[in-house]
């Protein structure tokens, strides 16, 4: 039964990957990366149960905590970039 769940998650990961590759805007890609990260956390938790070693949930916990840092860094970089571009236009 865990296999059904994990395959559903894997298929969703494939769909998110397609969205990340297609774009079209950068925000779509960031959204896809975010969805991909969440799905990885789910997949790792399900696999930990599937393998019968629930003590490996540490890994999913690490991703659940850290994933947001990457997304926030990307957004901040992106805002700085658009601000820099607009200031160049203003000059």
């Amino acid at each position: 039964m865990y296999i059904v769940v994990s395959i559903a998650i894997l298929v969703t990961m494939v769909l998110a990957l397609i969205r990340a590759l297609m774009g079209p805007s950068v925000y779509d890609r960031v959204l896809a990366v975010n969805v991909f990260g969440t799905k990885t956390v789910l997949l790792l938790s399900v696999i930990a149960f599937l393998y019968g070693r629930p003590d490996f949930l540490d890994l999913a916990l690490a991703y659940a905590l850290i994933n947001m840092v990457g997304i926030l860094a990307v957004l901040e970089f992106f805002q700085n970039r658009s601000r820099r571009n607009s200031s160049i236009k203003d000059d």
Binding site: T40, L44, L65, F78, N80
Partner: protein, 326 residues
């Protein structure tokens, strides 16, 4: 069963790698790199390498992306298209790929228990860990005791790389020197990310400490813990601005952590020699050899954690300070 996962994950890995190389916007390439890292960690996990997957998670999700983005904002994020023929390179790497694939048919198949790798010294390590150290994580035992020389070398490499980055980026840039603008961080105005981020930072650091000191019993250890704590501090720097993070943990403290961690590792080895053992032979540290091993491993893991955390944060601050200068 493992093959279902392997086929899915590895196919996605190849597609992502191709997309990274083809992406002309370097920013997109960096984002795809973070997907690549997630897939790699999931792969490591299904191949029974929980410790490695935790390391990839701790490093790939936060630190790598942030360092890449800092470098991109300093250099420019557009790749110029290349003119000229590329079939020579494609042909060369294609032939190389076919050669390697041909060579893999000589390798033992995946999961073969009779493969030469599993015959040599690994069974001895697994057998003796309980006897010598009396804790369950064999990976930590090998990392810090059986192959402690290796780990000392790796810590020194991290140390040297950190010093190298500081040497290269620490000097003032050739142009636009005295223009220190008080750049306000982009996320400062957003209330919700700031509140949630502030809430998360203590948990990240707490989880890092748990990984550090639980490393003998579950997946974890100094390398992972250092990276996780560094990620927590980087999150603080993103939310509150880099200068505030530097005020909270000054550069001197970070450098002290790097140097102190490496020295702690080497110092334990020297103490072992002074007490009559070999270099990094922790058994002589106390009267009970098992407890001596445990104590030595605890101390050197703390040293590794300090060194890695300090090195990653110093590198981040070196890039970020450069960014606010230019």
């Amino acid at each position: 069963m493992i093959f279902i996962f392997a086929v899915f994950l590895l196919t996605m890995l190849v597609i992502t790698a191709v997309a990274i190389v083809r992406a002309e916007d370097l920013f997109v390439a960096v984002m795809l790199t973070s997907i690549f890292s997630l897939l790699m960690a999931a792969n490591f996990f299904i191949l029974d390498a929980a410790d490695v997957a935790l390391t990839e998670a701790a490093v790939g999700a936060g630190v790598t992306t942030v360092i890449f983005l800092c470098a991109l904002s300093l250099t420019g994020d557009r790749e110029k298209p290349r003119q000229g023929p590329r079939w020579v390179a494609i042909g060369t790497v294609g032939v190389l790929a076919l050669l390697i694939i041909y060579a893999t048919f000589d390798k033992p198949r995946l999961g073969d228990p009779d493969a030469p790798v599993h015959q040599h010294i690994a069974p001895w390590y697994i057998e003796k860990t309980t006897e010598y150290m009396d804790f369950p994580n064999v990976v930590t035992a090998i990392l810090s005791s059986f192959r402690g020389y290796d780990t000392l070398g790796e810590v020194l490499v991290v140390f040297a790389a950190c010093i190298g980055v500081l040497f290269i980026l620490g000097v003032s840039p050739p142009r636009k020197t005295q223009q220190v603008t008080t750049k306000n961080s982009g996320l400062r105005h957003h209330l919700i990310p700031q509140v949630v981020g502030r809430l998360l930072i203590p948990f990240i650091v707490l989880f890092g400490l748990y990984v550090q000191f639980h490393g003998e019993y579950g997946p974890g250890g100094g390398f992972q813990a250092g990276a996780i704590i560094a990620t927590g501090v980087i999150l603080y720097a993103l939310l509150e601005g880099e200068a505030n993070a530097l005020r909270a943990i000054p550069r001197g403290v970070l450098l002290g952590m790097v140097v102190g961690g490496a020295l702690l590792f080497g110092g334990v080895g020297v103490v072992c020699m002074l007490m009559g053992g070999a270099f990094l032979e922790y058994s002589v540290l106390t009267a009970d050899p098992v407890f001596g091993q445990q104590l030595g491993i605890l101390i050197i893991e703390a040293g590794v954690g300090m060194a890695v955390c300090g090195a990653l944060l110093s590198i981040f601050h070196a890039f970020a300070a450069r960014e606010s200068l230019s």
